[in-house]
Subunit: 450 residues, 3 copies
C-alpha cells in the first residue's frame, strides 16, 4: 500500500517554494567546481557532524573570518569526509548523499577511505560534462519551480540574468529582509539608509521605511516572488500603535535598543509584513526558534551559519496573538509557520492552524527534515488540523544535488504514514491517493500561490 | 492479537464518567431537531476546522453575541459542511462522524457535496423515529452510566426530571464550580451571592463560602455525582493559611484581584476542593492547560467555546506541590489529572502518578482524544506508572452520537498497544486480556467510584 | 532482521560504566540476605509503584528518618510485593524482575499472592549457594567492567579490599562530589573542612579547595575511576572570573548563599570539573533535571531517594553555553549529557552533540531506561547527531540482579530500531551489524575511556 501510494507520486514534478540555492548557478550555468565544493564545504549538515567528532572546520576548507589559511585542496577535504562517512549512518545526510551519488552521478558504492579518490574522480569528471551543469540538472530533476531567498538590498541581478537568458527554468526569488528589520544585525542603520537610497524613500522616518518595504516587495514580485521569509529566534509578534512603533524604530536607527526592544521591533515588523501581505498577497513565512551562533569560539573564528545554531523552546500561542488579533481572520492572508521545537506541533501549531484561516503549517525544518521528522510531524498534527492546513514540502536547501533526494524522502515518509492510516481504518484508500498528490504537489502550490 | 483483544472488549458496556451531554435530552426525550444541529452547530471540532479554511462561523449558524443574524437554514449549513468534508480526512472527527453515520444511522456513503441532501434527508427521517430519541439511543449505545457536568448554581432540574420519570437510564451529574471559584469569571461576586441564597450560607465570609460548597457538593451527590471538575489555564495549586485565603477571597468579591491573585485564588480552591473530597469522597478532576478565547475577534463576535481555545505549556511538578503536600498522601483521596501538553506525560504526570497514592491519570483529552493520542499516552506513561494509575476512558463530549465511536477508537487503540506489548515480550497474553478489560471498564468505575 | 542483529550482540560482555552497586558486595562477597532486601527494599522503582497504590513505605521495610518501627519481616514485605505484582505490567520493572527470576534464579512462574511463599523460599535457598554470591554472579553475568559511584569523602575502602583480594573482577569507582560542591547539601561547610583534612589542602581558600578536588580525582583514578558524575536539578553552568567564583565559595562556606547563588556555584563547579578533566582526562557526566524530594511528607518521614524525585523541564542550550564557551572545543574533553526531559533529545541535545566535539549523549536515564524510552531516544537523536555522538548503554542501577536484564532490553530495543532503519532503506544491513556492536560495547568503552 505504501509502495503503491509512493509510485503514484514519485514522478510528480518538484515544487520547491523555499530554499537557499544560489541563483548565480542558473544565471551563469558554469560547471560546479569540484566534489568538495559541491558536497562538503557549503553544507552545514555535513561539516558540523565532522566537527562533532574532532575535525577542525579549517581542515574542511570552511573560510575563516580573519582570512587565515584553511585547507584549500578539495581532494584532501574530500578524503577527510570520506574516511568519516560512517558518522552519517542513520542520518538524512547519508540518505541525501547516497541518493545523489547514485541517482545523479550513477555511483552506488558506499563512500569510504578506500574508494575516496575513485569517487572523487568519477564525480569530478561528470561535473565537467554539459549535462551536469546547473540548468541541465534543474531540468533532469524535474523541478517545476524553485524559489531562492534574497536579502532586501539585493539587486536581483542573477535573477535578471536568468530571465534575460531566455532559459525556460522557473526560478523565483523570496523577500528576506533580515538586514533591515533586525536592529541587532550588523550595520542595521547603514542598511536602512541604503534601503532608502534604493527605493527613493526617506527611511529615516517610519512611514518612509514602511514604504521602502512596500516598494521592494513589489520589485521582488517582478522577479517572481510569491512569499517573504523571516527567521527570528522567537515567534514574537507585536501590534504596537504607530507612535510606539515609530519611536522604537528611531531607537533602532540610533543603535539604542535594549535586547528586549530589539525583539519587540522584530515582532512588530512581522505584523507589518502581514499587513503588507493583505495588499500584495505575498505569503508570509515565519522560521522561528533557532539560537544562532551558540559557540562564541566558532563564531569568532568562522562567523555565521557554521553548524552551531541550536534550537530552543519556542512559544507560539502567546507570541503570535498580537499578529493574529490584528489580521488573523483576514480571508486572503497566508502565514506559514515553521518550528524547531517539535513539542509545539500538537500542543500549539496544529490547534492554531486548525482554527485561524490564515495559518498553514510548514513542513518539518532543518534537523526535522527527515524520515522520522516528517512522520512525527504528521502524527502530531493531522488529527488536529488535518492535511489541508499544511503547506506541502520544502527542501529549504543550498545543496542543489540533494533536492530530488529530499523530496523523495518526504514522499516516502508521507506515503508510509498514509498507508498506516488506511491500514488502521482511518482513511479510505481512494482518499489516500488524493491526499498523497496534495501533499506532494498541490498544497505547496496553493500555500505559496505558485 | 490486537483484533482478538478488541473482540474481547468491544461489546462491554460504556462507562462515561465525564462529559458534556445535556441532561435535558434525557429528561424531555424529544427528538433531535435536525442533522445540522446534531452534528455541526454545537461541535467545536467540526466548526473550527471549517473556519480554518475560510468558512465564517455565522455561515454555520453559530450564534453571535450581539444577536446578529446567522445562517438559520439547517440544510444550507449541512451543505457547507458536506462540501468541505475532505478537510476532516485523517482526523478523529471523520472517524467519529463516519462511525455515527454508519452505526447509528445505517449510512455508509462518504459525505460529499454530491450526496449532502440525500444524507440530510435520511438522517432527518431517522431522527423523527422513536428509536432515535435520546433515551432509545442511550440504551442502544449500551451506556451503563453517563455523567453530565453542571455549574454550582444549577438547580439540577433536568436531573430531577430524569429521576422522577422512572426511566432506568443512569445519568449522573458532576460538580463544576467555575462561576463561583474563578474571580475572573463574568459576574463572580453576584454568582457568590446567589450561591449564598441557594445554600442559606453567608457567602460574604470565607467560612460561609466554603460551607456553601460543602452543601452544594452534597446536593450534587443526591443526583449521583461522584466527582467534581475544574478547568483552569494552569495546574496551579496553593495551600495558604486561612487568613491569607480569606483575605484573597474578600479581594475577589470586590473584583480587586490582580491576575496573579485571581490565579492564586483558583489554586487555593483546588486544594480546598481536595480537602472537601476527604470528607465527601468526590473524585477531583483537574483539566488544566487551555488558553481560552485566543482570538479577540472571535470572542467579541461569538463569545466562549468557539474553537479558539489553544493549549499551552503546562507545569505540573511545581504547580501541584502545595496540594500534594497538603493532602497527597491521604489514602482515600482520588485526583485525576488531564493535560493538553503531551510532553508532561512522561516527564511529569507519570512520575507523579507513579508515586502519589491519590493521583490517577485521566485519558487523553480534547485534541489528543484520538487514535495516535491514546497510543502516545500509553507509550509515554505505562513504563513509569503502569496501567493501574490511569483512569480508563472519558469521551468528554457534547456530541451524543459520537459516544460509541469514541469509546470504540479508545478500545481499538488500547488493544493495538497491548498487542504490541505482547508481540515484543513485554506483557503476557493472559495479562493483556485482563488489562484490556480494565482499561475499557474497570478502571473508570474504580477511579470515579461509579 | 531484528532477531539476527540481536543474536549478534546478545552474548557480548557487559560494560557498565555508570551505576550504583555497592562495592562492599564484591569486597566481602557475603550472600545477599533475602529476597525482600534484594528486590524490594532498596529499589525505588519497586516501592514507589506500591506506594502509588496505597501501600505505606514503612510496611515495605523502608527505614524511617526518626528510627521509628517499620516492617522487619522480609517474608511479609515480599508477600505485599507479590500480591501487587500486577501493578508492574507493562513497566520495565516487570521485565527486569521477570528476567532476573528466570535467568538468574531459574523461576519462570509469574509472581503472585498464590506463589509468593514458594518463590521466596526458592530464591532464598539459591542465595545461600556459593554460586549466587556477588562475585560469582558478577562473573556469570559476563560483566567486563562495573563502575560504582562514591562521594568525594569516601575512603574507597571497599575498592581497596576488592583490589587486595586478588579477585579478577574489574570494579572501578566514579568521582561524585555532591557533598562538597552543593552549598545546599546538609553539612556542606563541614564536608569541605573534612575534604581539606583528607587532602592536606587549605579548603577554606578557593585555590586550596580546587586543589583538593584535583587530589581526590587522582586518588579516585588509582581505583580505576575514568569519570566523574554530577547530578543537579538543572544543567546550569557558569564561567565566572576567579574573583567572583572565590567570593561565591566564601559565601557558600558561611551558608550565606541565596538559592540563586547556590545554583550559580554548582554551575561554576561543573565548569571547574570540565577544566580539571582537560588535565586528568576523567569523563564528565551531567545528570540534570530531577526535582528531588517532591513530597514534603515523604521527605520528613523517610528522607532522600524514596521515589518522590520528579523530573521537570530542563534547558540545555542556554545552561551549557558558559561551559561550552570555556572548553567546548577542546579536542580531548568528553562530557556526557543525560536528561529526564525527552523533549530535549531532538530539540537541544542532539543538535549540541552533533556540533560540539566534547559532547556525547548518555543513554535514556531512570524513567526512560526502558524499551520505549530507548526507541524514542534513537528516533529523536539519530537523525541529527548519528550514533557516534552517543555513549552506549548505562544500567545506572543499584539492583544488581537486574543488570543483565537491563542490558538485554537495551540490546533488543536498539536492534529493533536498527532493523527498522534497514527495512526502510535508511541503513545498509552490513552497517547495522557494526552499529549494533558499537551501541552494545564499543561506544561505552570509548566514551568512558575504559
Amino acid at each position: 500500500m505504501a509502495r503503491d501510494l509512493y509510485n503514484s507520486v514519485k514522478d510528480m514534478p518538484i515544487v520547491s517554494p523555499h530554499g537557499h540555492c544560489d541563483p548565480r548557478w542558473f544565471a551563469e550555468n558554469e560547471r560546479f567546481p569540484n566534489p568538495a565544493e559541491l558536497f562538503v564545504i557549503p553544507d552545514h549538515y555535513v561539516f558540523r557532524m565532522l566537527v562533532s567528532q574532532g575535525v577542525a572546520l579549517s581542515d574542511l576548507g570552511v573560510p575563516r573570518s580573519d582570512g587565515g589559511a584553511t585547507e584549500s585542496d578539495p581532494r584532501t577535504i574530500w578524503r577527510r569526509f570520506a574516511e568519516n562517512y560512517h558518522l552519517f549512518r542513520g542520518t538524512p545526510s547519508s540518505t541525501w548523499l547516497d541518493h545523489s551519488f547514485e541517482h545523479v552521478f550513477g555511483l552506488d558504492e558506499v563512500l569510504s577511505a578506500v574508494n575516496a579518490d575513485a569517487l572523487y574522480d568519477a564525480i569530478d569528471a561528470k561535473l565537467g560534462q554539459d549535462d551536469f551543469r546547473p540548468r541541465a540538472l534543474f531540468e533532469r530533476f524535474g523541478i517545476e519551480v524553485l524559489a531562492t531567498t534574497e536579502g532586501a538590498l539585493d539587486d536581483l541581478g542573477w535573477h535578471k540574468m536568468i530571465r534575460e537568458s531566455g532559459w525556460g527554468g522557473r526560478v523565483v526569488t523570496t523577500y528576506r529582509p533580515d538586514t533591515v528589520v533586525d536592529p541587532e544585525f550588523e550595520g542595521f542603520a547603514d542598511n536602512v539608509e541604503a534601503f532608502g537610497v534604493l527605493t527613493g524613500e526617506n527611511t529615516a522616518t517610519w512611514d518612509g521605511y514602511l514604504n521602502a518595504h512596500r516598494i521592494r516587495r513589489l520589485f521582488f514580485k517582478t522577479y517572481g516572488a510569491t512569499a517573504s521569509d523571516h527567521g527570528h529566534a522567537t515567534a514574537r509578534t507585536e501590534n504596537l500603535s504607530k507612535a510606539e512603533a515609530s519611536a522604537l524604530f528611531q531607537k533602532a536607527l540610533k543603535s539604542d535598543c535594549t535586547p528586549e526592544e530589539a525583539d519587540a521591533f522584530r515582532g512588530q515588523m512581522l505584523t507589518e509584513m502581514a499587513k503588507m501581505s493583505l495588499d500584495d498577497k505575498l505569503t508570509l513565512q515565519i522560521h522561528a526558534g533557532s539560537r544562532r551562533n551558540h559557540s562564541a569560539g566558532v563564531f569568532a573564528m568562522h562567523g555565521r551559519d557554521k553548524g552551531f545554531d541550536i534550537p530552543g523552546r519556542t512559544d507560539y500561542v502567546g507570541a503570535l496573538k498580537p499578529l493574529l488579533d490584528a489580521v488573523g481572520l483576514e480571508p486572503d492572508l497566508k502565514v506559514i509557520l515553521f518550528t524547531l521545537d517539535e513539542t509545539t506541533y500538537g500542543r500549539e501549531l496544529a490547534p492554531l492552524a486548525g482554527a485561524y484561516p490564515c495559518l498553514r503549517l510548514g513542513p518539518p525544518w532543518w534537523f526535522f527534515d527527515s524520515y522520522e521528522g516528517i512522520r512525527k510531524f504528521r502524527e502530531a498534527t493531522t488529527e488536529t488540523c488535518g492535511f489541508y492546513n499544511t503547506a506541502g514540502f520544502n527542501d529549504d536547501t543550498r545543496a542543489f544535488c540533494s533536492i530530488p533526494a529530499r523530496h523523495d524522502v518526504a514522499r516516502r515518509s508521507d506515503c508510509a504514514y498514509l498507508a498506516g492510516l488506511v491500514g488502521t481504518g482511518r482513511l479510505r484508500e481512494s482518499e489516500a491517493y488524493e491526499v498523497a498528490a496534495d501533499l506532494t504537489y498541490n498544497l505547496a502550490k496553493e500555500a505559496y500561490g505558485l
